[in-house]
């Protein structure tokens, strides 16, 4: 208690120094007076009494110092003194102060904003209790290489087997996200939800905000219950506190609301923020999900919590044992599939894919910050050089080096902390505006924000920046040679060459890193351009698409479904604005590009090639015309290709070239599944262009199209009993007018057939493409803006160095001109000194670009990281900018009036 009180008093005294000092002087004065009186009484002369009083006191200044040491924090009060001194200095040069602080704010702000992404996405533990015990479990299939296989997935039988037979997990469950038709509250809508084992809630360990979550028992009992997300509860139910027990309709089946999860609960941890689950219902696997083709659909995932004391490796071998048993029980048609169990930490599983992007952004922004530091150090160095005489005088008068050092550090700290504070504000603004524009490939976007860790980071960054920037000028100050500087008198002609070298080195480094960033940005821009040039395989103009899903509750029979589809296609075709219409299960540029296995007649795969995977689009009507997919040879499907007729298929060029190189694919045969799977043959009737199903920079898959009416017949043993086809699909229209204008007509037409049926994700194909380009656009734009910032800062740095050199060499220039040197000669002299710096910097920068190539390669598309055009252009641009930056001071130097300059000193 007494110490706390004392601490507060001492601290407050930092700011009331002068008052306390006056009081102390008064007190000691009074003390001396009393002592003097005493000595006078003892018979001393006044002179002697004064002396004796002071001796008895132990010296006035010493006594005061003892008092000061005891009452306050001396080191701190010195720093405050320095800070006040710094403020005075900075106020005297507002241009310098503004430049420095703004530069720092930019650097620290950008770095903080990007760091908050790094922190929210990569570093922060998952928002569950004991997150490092959470794992994701799935199968890795041998010989399967595809983009979407980055996450290991499981089948319905896998979920059952892993849950039943593993022993390493205290909780383990399966889940599967999908779109649901939600009705019974407001307009029917498509909402993302997840089917989950009851064990998943238990594994995650997050208690609900309201009500309860469902149990494994309820899951197995197939209870129709649902737990809502906080967002859904707030937005669709206006935060109704009596929500528990009410009903919602999912695909027109009633579910009872039993709980609401807290605001920050998010699961599955999907990338982006549009795919977040709004509710959770029991997985309740149905019998048909264990049979036929469904048993071979790796469409679910698993999450679990390790038992105490069990390591990931132990869990892995435990799961592997179960996977082997699962394989042993595979039906005949799956014999050639080989799987391995994979247990990964959930955190790793969630963020692994985002890591390269986030890391690249962070390195880019650190480069910008380094340039800021170099610039600031340069500016401070200039100030230090300008103040050399002052420093020399102070040294001569006995100032200690430590004091000078401290003062220089305080100055750069004051600047960097001010810059850091503004930077933090900038970062807050940037995040508020920017988070919604982050690419949908980043997970955990909702967790990005300025929390205390980010704040701490910004503060640490500011201090570190201040320290780094302060070092150079600080040592320049204490290395000042008193004799030399004072002897020089007013003449500034000879400059400590050490300082000049240091400044040049700083600028060279700046140019080098800026060039590295500039080439990176150039390469990304080239990649973007290349992506734009990619043939998409379809015509996006005047094309409109929307997804529908028929609820099983109403469309129980195949004939009801077929009736709907037929009416839909017919009605749409009748519309005046519509040229062609069709449906397809995969939308080009829609991002769905998973595949199924095929067996090709007469094709012997090379050893170890794995499965023959291709995407399978189920179509109806004329989607080829509607999407503008070019038919290379053969015929498109007609209405006579139906369930009863011969099975037919259309393949894309890639498929044809892989399996029938140099031959006409029309008339060739293929079938679903592996060789041991008993399925009927389909005959190829046409070859079409390669269509980009995902983004344009992703690899094109082998593609097969089939009439949706022939699906069940072609599945053979893969078909389950009573399987329905054509229950969902994308409607695609080619319109005669701008496609946006057709949206309402399309919606109205569908509602005429089924008033309750919502249309999902209605979009023009142009929009779909733009969406698929978004991730690349994002990193290209961001890296390019960092590059621009870096280059601008760099130009500023070059300008500063050259201008300062010119100012110092003014006399020299004057002498040169007085002796007959021409203006152009002076300009050339200055320019060449700028060009020398730039040339060295560019050389180093090109080396830097080569070093960065390893980093960048994964983000480039059809561009080599050593693309000569980009490297050359960037280097030339940098050189020209450096020359431009030196041109201004050069002109000023050539305008020197020799007489004035010589007289001026």
């Amino acid at each position: 208690m007494k110490h706390l009180r004392r601490l507060l008093v001492r601290f407050s005294l930092l700011f009331a120094n002068s008052r306390v000092e006056a009081e102390l002087a008064r007190e000691i004065g009074a003390h001396l007076a009393l002592l003097e009186d005493e000595y006078l009484r003892q018979g001393m002369t006044p002179e002697e009494a004064r002396r004796a009083a002071r001796i008895a006191c132990g010296g006035v200044e010493q006594a005061k110092q003892l008092h000061r040491d005891e009452r306050g924090f001396q080191a701190l009060s010195h720093i405050l003194q320095d800070a006040r001194y710094t403020f005075r200095q900075l106020r005297r040069s507002p241009a310098f102060t503004m430049t420095a602080i703004l530069m720092l704010a930019l650097g620290i702000g950008a770095t903080t904003a990007i760091f908050s992404i790094v922190e929210g996405v990569l570093l922060r533990p998952l928002p569950f209790p004991d997150p490092d015990r959470l794992i994701s479990l799935g199968d890795v299939t041998e010989g399967l290489h595809c983009a979407s296989c980055a996450h290991s997935s499981v089948t319905a039988p896998d979920i059952r087997n892993y849950m039943r037979d593993t022993k390493s997990f205290s909780h383990l469950g399966g889940y599967r996200g999908r779109l649901f038709e939600l009705s019974g509250v407001g307009e029917p809508a498509a909402v993302n939800g997840a089917r989950m084992s009851g064990e998943v809630f238990a594994a995650l360990g997050v208690p609900p905000l309201l009500g309860r979550t469902f149990t494994q028992h309820e899951d197995e009992e197939e209870q129709q219950v649902v737990v809502l997300s906080y967002g859904m509860w707030r937005n669709r139910f206006h935060g109704d506190p009596n929500i528990l027990g009410s009903k919602i309709l999912l695909y027109r089946k009633p579910y009872i609301v039993i709980g609401v999860m807290p605001r920050d609960f998010e699961f599955p941890l999907n990338p982006g923020h549009v795919n977040q689950s709004e509710f959770w219902l029991p997985l309740s696997l149905r019998p048909q999900e264990f049979t036929a083709g469904s048993a071979a659909s790796w469409n679910s995932r698993m999450v679990g919590r390790l038992k105490p004391g069990i390591s990931i490796e132990q869990a892995q071998s435990d799961a592997e044992r179960v996977a082997r048993e699962t394989m042993r029980d595979y039906p005949a048609f799956m014999r050639s599939i080989r799987i391995h169990a994979a247990v990964t930490a959930l955190q790793e599983d969630t963020v692994a894919q985002a890591r390269p992007l986030v890391r690249t952004l962070f390195s880019a922004v650190i480069v910008v910050l380094l340039i800021v530091c170099a610039n600031l150090a340069g500016l401070l160095l200039v100030r230090a050089i300008r103040r050399r005489r002052e420093i020399a005088v102070r040294l001569a008068l006995g100032a200690r080096a430590a004091t000078l050092l401290r003062q220089a550090m305080v100055e750069s700290m004051v600047l960097s902390i001010a810059g850091g504070a503004i930077g933090l504000a900038l970062a807050a603004v940037a995040l508020r505006v920017g988070v919604s524009r982050l690419p949908q490939t980043l997970p955990r976007i909702n967790e990005i924000g300025l929390d205390w860790r980010v704040m701490l980071f910004a503060l640490g960054l500011a201090l570190l920046t201040g320290l780094l920037c302060g070092l150079a000028p600080a040592f320049a100050a204490i290395r000042t040679s008193v004799n030399e500087t004072l002897k020089e008198g007013g003449r500034t002609g000879t400059l400590g060459s050490g300082h000049a070298r240091l400044r040049s080195a700083l600028v060279v480094v700046e140019i080098a890193v800026a060039l590295t960033l500039l080439t990176a940005s150039g390469l990304l821009l080239r990649s973007f351009e290349k992506m734009r040039d990619v043939k998409l395989g379809f015509r996006p103009d005047n094309a409109l698409a929307a997804l529908y899903v028929l609820p099983q509750q109403r469309y129980r029979t195949q004939s009801a479904i077929d009736e709907f589809t037929k009416t839909l296609l017919n009605d749409l075709e009748q519309l005046p604005g519509v040229e062609n219409v069709g449906t397809t299960s995969f939308l080009p540029a829609g991002g769905n590009n998973w595949g199924i296995a095929f067996t090709i007649e007469g094709y012997v795969p090379p050893k170890g090639a794995g499965l023959n995977m291709a995407s399978m689009s189920l179509v109806q009507g004329d989607p080829f015309e509607a999407l503008g997919i070019g038919v290379l040879r053969g015929r498109v499907f007609t209405e006579s290709d139906n369930a009863g007729s011969q099975l037919v298929a259309i393949v894309n060029r890639k498929m044809a070239e892989r399996y029938w190189p140099g031959q006409d694919p029309v008339g060739k045969r293929l079938r679903r599944g592996m060789p041991e799977t008993s399925t009927p043959w389909m005959t190829v009737v046409a070859e079409v262009d390669d269509v980009k199903l995902g983004s344009a920079d992703a690899e094109t898959m082998a593609q097969v199209y089939q009439p949706v009416t022939q699906t069940v017949a072609s599945e053979g043993v893969l078909a389950s009993v009573g399987e329905l086809s054509a229950t969902d699909g994308w409607i695609v229209l080619r319109t005669r007018m701008p496609p946006e204008q057709m949206e309402d007509t399309l919606r109205a037409t569908v509602q005429k057939i089924d008033p309750q049926l919502p249309l999902y994700q209605m979009q023009t194909m142009e929009h779909a493409i733009s969406q698929s380009e978004a991730p690349r656009r994002f990193n290209t734009v961001l890296i390019s803006s960092f590059a621009i910032a870096a280059v601008l800062l760099c130009v500023l740095g070059i300008y500063g160095v050259i201008a300062f050199t010119v100012a110092l060499r003014e006399q020299e220039m004057a002498v040169r001109m007085a002796l007959g040197s021409r203006r152009s000669g002076v300009i050339l002299l200055i320019l060449s000194s700028g060009a020398r710096l730039a040339a060295v910097g560019c050389g180093l920068g090109l080396l830097g670009a080569v070093a960065a190539s390893r980093f960048l390669r994964s983000f480039l598309f059809e561009v080599s990281p050593f693309d000569p055009a980009v490297l050359a252009l960037s280097a030339i641009a940098m050189l020209l900018l450096a020359l431009a930056a030196s041109a201004l001071p050069a002109r000023r130097a050539s305008g020197t009036n020799p007489m004035l300059a010589l007289r001026g000193e």
Binding site: K2, R5, R6, V9, R10, L24, R26, E27, I28, A30, H31, A33, L34, L35, D37, I55, A56, C57, G58, G59, V60, Q62, A63, L66, H67, D69, E70, R71
Partner: protein, 115 residues
């Protein structure tokens, strides 16, 4: 002088606080000079301390809230800062005194055993 210095004792860490508090308690409000004089009297001039060293102790005690200073006039009509012991100071003195007694008793015992 040199003879005297040999005899003079150094003040134990923390005892100055105790002495000042005790002085103020028994003598009422005192200024620094009075406290210093009193110290020298009591110690029979064994305690050689220059009066400036009193100030850190006064600052410390004031910052603890144990004493409080106020300006006043001496008999000779000189101004001086008088320090007065506070309630918290009284309480602290009691505790410190006990601590000191225990401590000195312990040292005493130790020295007895040794000899």
């Amino acid at each position: 002088m040199s003879n005297k210095e040999k005899e003079s004792i150094q003040l134990l860490q923390g005892t100055l606080d105790l002495i000042v508090l005790r002085t103020l308690q028994t003598m009422g409000p005192q200024h620094a000079y009075q406290i210093a004089t009193r110290l020298q009297q009591i110690s029979d001039r064994l305690l050689n301390l220059n009066q400036g060293t009193l100030y850190p102790a006064l600052v410390r005690l004031e910052q603890y809230g144990w004493i409080q200073g106020a300006w006043g006039r001496t008999e000779s009509n000189r101004e001086a800062k008088y320090y007065e012991i506070t309630k918290a100071g009284q309480k602290a003195l009691k505790e410190e005194t006990q601590t000191w007694r225990r401590m000195s008793a312990l040292v005493e015992r130790l020295l007895l055993e040794e000899s």
